[in-house]
Symmetry: none
Subunit: 220 residues, 2 copies
Amino acid sequence: MRALVVEDDRRIASDLERALSSAGFRVERIEDGETAWFRGGTESYDLIVLDLGLPRLDGLTVLKRWRAEGCESPVLILTARGAWTERVEGIDAGADDYLPKPFRMEELIARARALVRRSGGRATSIQQVGDLLVDLNRMSVAVSGVPVSVTPLEYRLLSYLTLHRDRTVSPSELLEHLYGDDDARDANALEAVIARLRRKVGPGVIQTRRGFGYDLGVAG
Amino acid sequence: MRALVVEDDRRIASDLERALSSAGFRVERIEDGETAWFRGGTESYDLIVLDLGLPRLDGLTVLKRWRAEGCESPVLILTARGAWTERVEGIDAGADDYLPKPFRMEELIARARALVRRSGGRATSIQQVGDLLVDLNRMSVAVSGVPVSVTPLEYRLLSYLTLHRDRTVSPSELLEHLYGDDDARDANALEAVIARLRRKVGPGVIQTRRGFGYDLGVAG
DNA sequence: CGGAAAATGTCAGCGGATTGTCAGCGACAT
DNA sequence: ATGTCGCTGACAATCCGCTGACATTTTCCG
């Protein structure tokens, strides 16, 4: 599941990225209209979240050009609260759904899933890596078919590794993901979480790359 | 493209008819709930615009009955401006979109088009999850066949969980659903409702996932 | 209206789950 | 060997959700 987020407000973009990636999307971020136009026309995404107020090239224009070029990815547009004209224009321009700002992340996720499902994309919120199974919808975990109960922190760690299974994730990146920049923790806190997780999912699932970080066993 | 307009205010109904026909719909008009129920259940439309304040039979009831009978036409409901409860109930009852009055015709048309474009699957009115049975029509609840009397708030909580049985619902999302953003409540209010509900439906129906939220026992 | 009954919100406190910290240990590389 | 990195178990503090009692609001009905 690839998602493209086109949003110039860093803060919102970050929230979106976090929410979408923990919902199982691999997220790419773009901050201005021209780049968005290029990327959306070239690559193929399972979902595009498009803010209408963009620098360099207006979101509506971008959307129209995409559609003109035959881009069929489902597009969810973000509009300002009272701006009903935007909504109308957006839908006429080929948007599949819209969400007025400010919005609740859960609602965005729900709509995103609905869009993906509707567009025929396999809305697989279930991630499988080796014997490990992570259901991003239920927020549940199983190993070799046996359900395992994990705590919120453990779940976040595990889903993050799952979504980045193709590489080794550094401890600092994990720390940043689990806690904010704000209340940073000791590296040992992370190790404690890993240890507890390993006790639950069994050894061999989370592998340590000494000096580099952690990954799931599949790595090459 | 057949559209059904259910609206008792002649003035509004005329406007709707004019706008919809110039958007390419063949429009039929109905002014009271009972007739609407009959027609919607019998005929098949590409779009239904439904006012909630109707003579003889309330719009919400009509909608629920349609859905109960298997009518799957996309329904756009018209609600009074501030009435968020109507909005919520409407969507719970199976509406596909809503528009608060007063509205611009352009927006209605845009939404109508969007709805028609994506005529997809929809929910039925009797929901069963494990031993729990929630009838969205009659707004009644039963556990293992035994009817349980629940209060309005409890019902809304339960039906929300039922409609989102495929995932774990966070407390904040539940709070937002039960109360608006406007008059927010303490998280403890929610816990109180849950506690009282559990006393009625028995333990094990609503499960707590500490740190995540609540779901119905069907977990995977 | 007005009072009773039902529904709901609030509070304080409990109990347990979760998680950070620490100290010590093992293992790996040079 | 030895210093560094990562692991582990124990412990403590914190957080989260539950409960029962009580206060407040809403609803119902005469």
